[in-house]
């Protein structure tokens, strides 16, 4: 099994590489599109919405991700990597995201919530059927998908529920960081890539 990690050229993806190493899954960095047949692609969350979109469009990775999604390739988006799949973000008004999924990205507002922004720490993710698991969050934004049936799990912070896990076709996106969530995080990714989640 081999997974490609989208490389924005920015750095902090060591923990994603570590997760794959721990799972004994081969990995290849993707600074630009590839013809190699991969078992899946990880879109990690690095930097800000506008900055990351600029990097993706300069390298041609934006079109690559769209065509890979359409071809049914498994794609796993982490944090900003999930947010980039949508059309717009309050982080950078007027900047288009990948727009593969319909919906927007909104800022967590600390005023209305008992919540500090950025929201950092472990949160309980509710998968329904008595299944709650803790995953690590570090974010200031969350996704608001048009297709609410794509939300397969949510989390409550400061009295507000927001989507934690999105599934749409061959795409799974998570607002938390499985690569920073111990064995539970590694298991979630393994389940996804092996078709169990």
């Amino acid at each position: 099994m081999k997974i490609g990690i989208v490389d924005y050229g920015a750095g902090n993806i060591s923990s994603v590489k570590r997760m794959l190493r721990n799972l004994a899954i081969d990995q290849v960095m993707l600074p630009k599109p590839t013809k190699e047949k991969l078992d899946g692609i990880i879109l990690p969350g690095v930097g800000s919405f506008g900055w990351a979109m600029n990097k993706l469009s300069t390298s041609g990775m934006d079109e690559f991700l769209k065509s890979e999604f359409e071809s049914g390739r498994k794609i796993f988006g982490i944090c900003l990597g999930l947010q980039l799949f949508y059309e717009h973000s309050q982080e950078e008004e007027g900047k288009y995201g990948l727009g593969i999924l319909k919906g927007t990205v909104k800022k967590l507002e600390s005023k209305e919530l008992k919540l500090k922004v950025p929201n950092i720490g472990f949160g309980s993710v509710d998968f329904g059927i008595n299944s709650k698991t803790n995953f690590y969050y570090a974010h200031s934004f969350y996704v608001c998908p048009e297709d609410t049936s794509s939300v397969v799990a949510s989390t409550v912070f400061g009295g507000k529920a927001f989507p934690a896990v999105i599934k749409s076709g061959s795409f799974m996106g998570v607002q938390f960081h499985p690569e920073l969530s111990g064995d539970t995080g590694e298991k979630l990714f393994k389940d996804f890539i092996e078709g169990r989640a």
Partner: protein, 250 residues
């Protein structure tokens, strides 16, 4: 057990962070940030804490700024490889390029003190590129004779003339997404947190607020009461096994 106003929910939601003070390549511990004692390989301790359920690891290179050294990227990479939780790295980060190297080596969050006080624009530079959630400002404070708390740099050695609350608010305005507070007076003593210091800052910190220095036993946390503290960093008490992670999480 009396919980002195700290509700179960607020104890559960406080992040538990293992603090590793480094004098490369060793994990060390001192008193008042001096008189440093070698304890062993940081990656060994970090790996054990990660397996036992710590929420995060805070790596502090104690001598980088003091001796004008660059962060030890090789050692950061080793510690990163030994854990499965977020790694916060502090010590000697003096530019965006340097932060980039530290992220590439394995940090999920960088924490800056000395070089942020000298050039506050560094906070914004890192925060713009990596996001505020990855940009922490680390404050070392020490009580002065006439009753004010001064920020110190260079591993708790150099005066700055900056008052602690004034600097904290400025750091947040420059884009810091988290504050980690250490007390030079309480460091390594395991005699309890510096509550007077925490009291001054907690309610005006609009970003996550992590307190460090002085935790020696579980009951020291009870005294946090209803203070707005989002995380605790524990060093010596974990290394010397005076407290364990399960106890912290309860």
């Amino acid at each position: 057990m009396a919980t002195a106003g700290l509700s179960l929910e607020s104890i559960m939601s406080i992040r538990k962070i293992a603090r590793l003070d480094i004098k490369r390549p060793y994990l060390i511990k001192g008193y008042h940030m001096e008189g440093l004692k070698k304890l062993g390989a940081p990656e060994t301790f970090a790996g054990e804490y990660s397996r036992n359920g710590i929420d995060e690891v805070f790596y502090v290179d104690h001598v980088a700024s003091l001796y004008g050294m660059k962060p030890d990227l090789h050692l950061i990479h080793k510690v990163c490889g030994a854990i499965k939780v977020p790694l916060i790295v502090a010590g000697g980060i003096d530019s965006l390029e340097c932060a980039h190297e530290v992220f590439t080596a394995g940090a999920d969050v960088v924490a800056i003190n000395t070089h942020a006080i000298h050039r506050p624009a560094l906070i914004r530079e890192i925060s713009n590129e990596y996001g505020s959630q990855s940009t922490t400002v680390h404050i070392d404070a020490k009580l002065q004779k006439n009753g004010w708390w001064e920020c110190y740099t260079h591993g708790g050695r150099e005066h700055t003339g900056r008052e602690v609350k004034d600097w904290m608010l400025e750091a947040i305005s420059h884009g810091a997404g988290q504050i980690i507070l250490s007390s030079v007076d309480k460091d390594g003593l395991m005699s309890g947190l510096d509550f007077e210091l925490i009291e001054i800052l907690h309610s005006s910190c609009s970003v996550p607020f992590v307190v460090s220095s002085g935790i020696g036993e579980r009951k020291h946390l009870n005294a946090l009461g209803n203070m707005a503290v989002d995380g605790i960093a524990v060093g010596a008490a974990l290394h010397y096994k005076k407290i364990n992670i399960i106890e912290l999480s309860r």
